[in-house]
């Protein structure tokens, strides 16, 4: 007996001790008002020990009938070598119960969590999704994977002959940190509903909308179409999963006129009433003729922006010069990542002036020869809204420990892009864009002033390598209420059919979303005095 001490001791330990994995659960993702956007479902995964299975054929038949998986595949697993083989991961409760009741020898269950997005496809491009092992693959699930995932481990239990274990006083569930997003479920829903409607109305190829607090950079809503359901990520392709708001570049067209407009004011080379002769309807630069969509007469600087004259903008750009156009483009954050806390953001591009051709100054002045993301454009207009600061957009506002204690919170960052005076002056011009005579009358909101700018840009045809006359990107970017902005928003509709102008295609979408959003945010109308009766409260 003593001679075999080691062997028997090991056997005794093997019988008495049992190792169990600590269940790891990802943290919950909440919207800004505490509504759950990503939670965990407690399911069971089925495994087998092939050496313990009596009748693989019968077992495979039962499991196949219940799970709907091919019988042969299950039979192969039940007949394989090794002591642990997964048969089916994350079974629903009913299937697990039925398999358990069938008492197949050699199969067992392990508790397993499945990530569940209770709002379906809502905010899917922000949330992202996880793989079968609950590892973040896209969106905040990927970006904040380190915080969301819990720390696992193993606990050794003592057990008796019947298999009953003794408590070790250890919590067998380890939870990750919870995230509080900046987005608001209801605003997100409003944006997505209107985007769906616009996509249907214009038979567009794709669409993007972003709503942001212009002062803090908090993303209140961000949506793309086409979209996908993060509960079934396998059922969608890369086109549906792509977060166009930050990963797709496009030529912004007239929304980029903010660069020459603000640059000219900041450098004091124009006044609001400085005249620009646009009566020819075209202007030549570097051997290329740039046309206006509609012929205008003599326009003031203010009217050039209000009516979105290409000719006038090129003239302003020429006055400003290429070095300064480039300087202001960079000051507004073009050509660099905004720093949003979502994976896959691209920087877009704008070439340095030394690499510009003779046409570039004219083209860039009207938003061509540059590649931007919708978020970059929105960020630039948010700077006009907030008095000249370039903010850092973000989607996560706080990280909470599993016990609910705040472990991290975002501190808004802003760097000055232009002076307050320039921002205020340009804001005044942007207000006229949505008024009578502007290009975005359809963006005006009942009761509150809107400041914004339309954009209609041609897409380069990959076959001819020239601007297409059929494919356009229509956009509108603005903020409301103009003088005390609560929201800044961009709408981008890719390849609309029937109409192409941003003022017709994208501006009405802005209006509809803004009207419901202002109601939801309790922003009063400016044209009516606030009811004084309640002041007595």
């Amino acid at each position: 007996m003593l001679l075999n001490h080691g062997r028997f001791f090991a056997k005794a330990m093997d019988q008495q001790l049992k190792k169990e994995e600590i269940q790891v659960r990802r943290g919950i993702v909440f919207d800004r008002r505490g509504r759950e956007l990503a939670v965990n479902l407690e399911l069971e995964s089925l495994y087998c020990d092939p050496l313990e299975v009596d009748s693989p054929e019968a077992g495979a038949q039962v499991v196949s009938e219940i799970t709907g998986k091919p019988r042969q595949a299950i039979l192969n697993k039940l007949s394989s070598e090794g002591r642990f083989v997964w048969l089916e991961r994350k079974l629903d409760m009913d299937a697990a119960r039925r398999i358990r009741e069938s008492k197949i020898k050699g199969v067992g269950f392990v508790q397993d969590a499945k990530r569940f997005y209770p709002k379906g496809s809502l905010a899917s491009h922000i949330l992202g999704f996880v793989d079968i092992d609950n590892k973040g693959i896209e969106g905040v699930e990927l970006k904040y994977n380190t915080y969301l995932k819990g720390n696992g481990g193993k606990v050794v239990f003592e057990r008796d002959a019947s298999g009953k274990t003794l408590s070790q006083g250890v919590d067998m569930e380890s939870k990750g940190n919870n995230l509080v997003l900046t987005i608001d479920e209801l605003l997100q829903f409003m944006v997505e509903a209107q985007l769906d409607e616009a996509l249907k109305q214009w038979h567009a190829a794709a669409a993007t909308a972003i709503m942001m607090d212009p002062f803090t950079g908090e993303i209140l809503a961000l949506a793309n179409r086409p979209s996908y359901n993060p509960n079934l990520p396998g059922g969608s392709g890369s086109a549906e999963r792509r977060d166009r708001a930050i990963t797709d570049c496009y030529e912004p067209g007239s929304t980029f006129k903010i660069i020459v407009g603000t640059g000219a004011i900041e450098e004091k080379i124009v006044k609001l009433d400085s005249p620009f002769d646009c009566s020819r309807g075209s202007v030549e630069i570097g051997g290329r003729t740039i046309h206006d969509a509609h012929r205008h007469g003599l326009l003031t600087f203010k009217e050039v922006i209000q009516k979105s004259s290409n000719v006038g903008s090129v003239m302003i750009g020429m006055k400003l010069g290429k070095e300064r156009v480039y300087k202001y483009a960079r000051a507004f954050g073009f050509g660099e990542k905004s720093g949003i806390d979502l994976p896959g953001e691209v920087s877009g591009w704008i070439r340095p002036p030394e690499r510009w051709s003779g046409v570039s100054l004219g083209s860039i002045s009207i938003g061509q020869e540059v590649a931007v993301t919708p978020l970059q454009v929105l960020r630039a207009y948010a700077a006009i809204a907030n008095g000249g600061f370039l903010v850092r957009p973000h989607v996560v506002s706080r990280i909470l420990s599993p016990e609910g204690k705040e472990t991290w919170s975002f501190r808004p960052e802003g760097k000055r892009a232009i002076s307050r005076e320039t921002a205020d002056t340009f804001k005044g011009i942007l207000k006229t864009v949505t008024e009578e005579g502007g290009t975005a009358k359809m963006a005006s909101v009942d009761g509150n002033e809107v400041a914004g700018k339309t954009g209609t840009a041609q897409i380069i045809d990959p076959r001819t390598k020239r601007y297409s006359h059929e494919k356009y990107v229509s956009s509108f970017v603005g903020f409301v209420p103009a003088d005390d902005p609560k929201i800044a928003m961009i709408i981008v509709i890719y390849e609309p059919k029937g109409q192409i102008y941003g003022g017709v295609v994208a501006a009405p979408v802005f209006k509809k979303i803004a009207e419901s959003a202002l109601s939801y945010l309790d922003v009063p109308r400016q044209d009516r005095p606030v009811n004084a009766l309640a002041a007595a409260r």
Binding site: N40, F116, P118, K119, L166, T216, G414, P524
Partner: protein, 129 residues
């Protein structure tokens, strides 16, 4: 040869010690047995707690799903005929104790934003987020 006279005490101490020793041994066994029983009990309770926790999570997921804006909107607009309020018909009231809110970066130090994000009733009352 020496003879030692035993006292009465020595006749008592020996059996008493034996009894005490036995009591001690059985006491320890009894305590240990109770401890193990309690550990079993705790283990069962922990399992029950985890089960309840799992049920809570499933219910929370179901609640979140049922309360999704999409579903509420569908029910409200479809079955109940409700619509979102028309801004022209909404009367905004001003609370006396709350000043109007103005956001600005200007007051912040070195250009850093000074705007505080308001949440809950304060934010709602001021018409901000």
């Amino acid at each position: 040869m020496m003879y030692v006279r035993k006292s009465m005490g020595s006749y008592v101490i020996a059996p008493l010690s034996l009894v005490l020793l036995l009591c001690g041994v059985f006491g320890i066994v009894w305590l240990r047995s109770n401890l193990i029983s309690m550990e079993y009990g705790i283990s069962e309770l922990e399992k029950a707690r985890l089960d309840r926790l799992r049920e809570t999570k499933m219910l929370m997921a179901e609640k979140s799903s049922l309360l999704s804006t999409q579903k509420l909107e569908k029910t409200a607009a479809g079955n109940m005929g409700l619509v979102l309020p028309d801004r022209r018909k909404v009367v905004f009231v001003k609370r006396k104790d709350v000043e109007s809110y103005k956001a600005s970066f200007e007051a912040g130090l070195r250009g850093s934003p000074d705007r505080k994000v308001q949440t809950g009733s304060e934010g709602a009352a001021r018409g901000t987020l």
